[in-house]
Symmetry: C2
Subunit: 329 residues, 2 copies
């Protein structure tokens, strides 16, 4: 395992310490829970609180989306494991300023269970919490059971848009409505070329043979839709884009936002090579790309792969996406 | 080779096409040369022009540092190969607005030769070009022959600071002076855990054995200072930081800026784990870290490794670093 780590059991502690030191003007550790981070001076802000959380190994998600006009508090789990209900609860307490809290998280069994327990705990304290669950990964379940789909990089749009609505003074219901719209309008798909290795395990999580690729792979190595012979970047980008277009059934000329994220060990060069074809296919079909995000937005440790997310935007979503925000991710 | 590419001989063309499409509000291809990019509307700006350039495979460098108040035009070479003199010349032409051009590049034999030929060509046209050569990589030559050292991620500081000085209306000499100060005040060092693979070659550029690491590796796989047993992140970060401190011989309490860049396939998590120790060592010695940059700033295709850059800053450099700029990288 050729990695820059110390004790493999303590990577999350080491990560949090380094992250907080690097961003001390922006974030701090909660006094209640050392696995909860919050934005600085959040207590002075009288707005709907935004909470998220999830397993580690997806950096800059989730903690990197803490920031002004983005996420107010985040619950941090072990590598690829949901934070406990207590951590989500403590994050809710940190983000609550009397206007209610929106918990915007990705659809995984553990997170779902723990967020709901935390909401119950907060409810006992008289704090109103509503939630939106990102389920943008079209490979993780068929369209007919879209509610079972996992949340991946599309969550970035949900946090940005929910965070902006809250910053603009939106009520809890308005924040939930805007964040839910972002989720409804977003579809994502991944392709993996090599596995990732959980540090504490020390060997690859799964295996992709040299010369093969896994289309629709999940962020924790969940089996994809199919294992195929490794194709060219053009072919891969075409297959990914078409899968999203078919699933979404866009109208003819939509205004779209594209996010291409490396999954951990994918060079920046290759993201641009893939984008060239994504753009070609979308514009050939008459769509307009109004914004592009390319980089490491949501990763899976050292997985060699990419995720493509496409969001349809209307005037409201464009305004909220453009609204100024400050976060590391 | 598990990569997202098309024809390995054409990765640079594919990269440029994707990059320009993704950033069309910010950059465009030069009319004179399809391997030269320039910022949009640069012809309306009456300031000293900033030019850089170098081999591809280091994305987001060099093209990602094009932008408002940063670099005005960039010459793009093949993978790990200098752009020809003609490309540097065309970039100079694009960046020239009658106030002279500052060419801020990294110290490699090919770039040095081609930049100097381009400057001669521009001189024949009556365009004054001066240059600064980044030589921040302390592993690439001993202190006594520091002028032979290569330029690596420290170049980012040079572009940011030179670009800000030009945007603030600085003369060519003032831009050169500020950029040279950034170079003089910066030291960098890399550690590699795995090689990179040039797409057109198709096999690893060099080899690092499982369980070993190369301390001081160059951005193209140039041999480092020593091959060692793979150490913990704490030990590696300590060794890197101490190497820079010893080379620089800082005064006791300096104001420092730290940049930790992945070299291509290094997960974000590990950069923060390393930073935790870098910060500890610097602050224990009484230094103050005023700014931190963590991410993929200058890479080497899919190399598994990191570079650490530390810049000493005074009031002038802080002001120029803080000056607003817009660029992808």
């Amino acid at each position: 395992m050729q990695r820059f780590i110390n004790n493999p059991e303590l990577v999350v502690d080491d990560l949090i310490r380094g992250f907080v030191k690097a961003n001390k003007k922006l974030v701090k550790v909660s006094k209640h829970n050392n696995r909860v981070l919050k934005v600085n001076n959040s207590s002075e802000i009288k707005k709907v609180g935004i909470v998220t959380g999830g397993g580690s190994g997806h950096e800059p998600a989730f903690l990197g989306y803490l920031g002004d006009n983005m996420v107010d508090a985040v619950a941090i789990g072990e590598v690829f494991a949901s934070p406990p209900a207590q951590a989500f609860y403590d994050a809710i307490i940190e983000a609550d300023h009397g206007k209610g809290v929106a918990c915007l998280f990705g659809n995984y069994a553990g997170d779902n269970m723990n967020v709901k327990m935390a909401i119950q705990m907060a409810d006992d304290d008289g704090i109103t919490v509503k939630y939106v669950v990102a389920n943008d990964d079209i490979a993780s379940s068929p369209k007919e059971t879209a509610e079972k789909r996992h949340g991946i990089a599309g969550g970035v749009f949900m946090w940005k848009i929910g965070g902006a609505r809250a910053a603009l003074g939106g009520s809890l219901d308005e924040v939930i409505q805007s964040a839910q719209k972002a989720v409804n309008y977003t579809r994502s798909i991944c392709v993996g070329l090599n596995s990732c290795t959980i540090p504490a395990v020390g060997k690859p999580n799964f295996s992709i043979k040299e010369g093969e690729m896994e289309f629709g792979i999940g962020h924790h190595g969940e089996a994809g839709m199919k294992v195929e012979k490794l194709k060219s970047a053009d072919e891969i980008a075409t297959e990914m884009t078409m899968a999203i277009l078919e699933d979404f059934a866009f109208a003819e000329k939509e205004n779209l936002v594209v996010l291409l994220s490396g999954l951990g060990s994918t060079p920046v060069m290759e993201l641009y090579i893939l984008f060239d074809t994504v753009e070609k296919i979308l514009t050939e079909r008459g769509h307009h790309i109004s914004k592009v995000f390319i980089g490491d937005y949501v990763t899976s440790l050292d997985m060699n792969g990419v995720s493509l997310s496409i969001m349809k935007v209307d005037e409201e979503l464009v305004e909220l996406l453009d609204y100024s925000a400050k976060a590391v991710g």
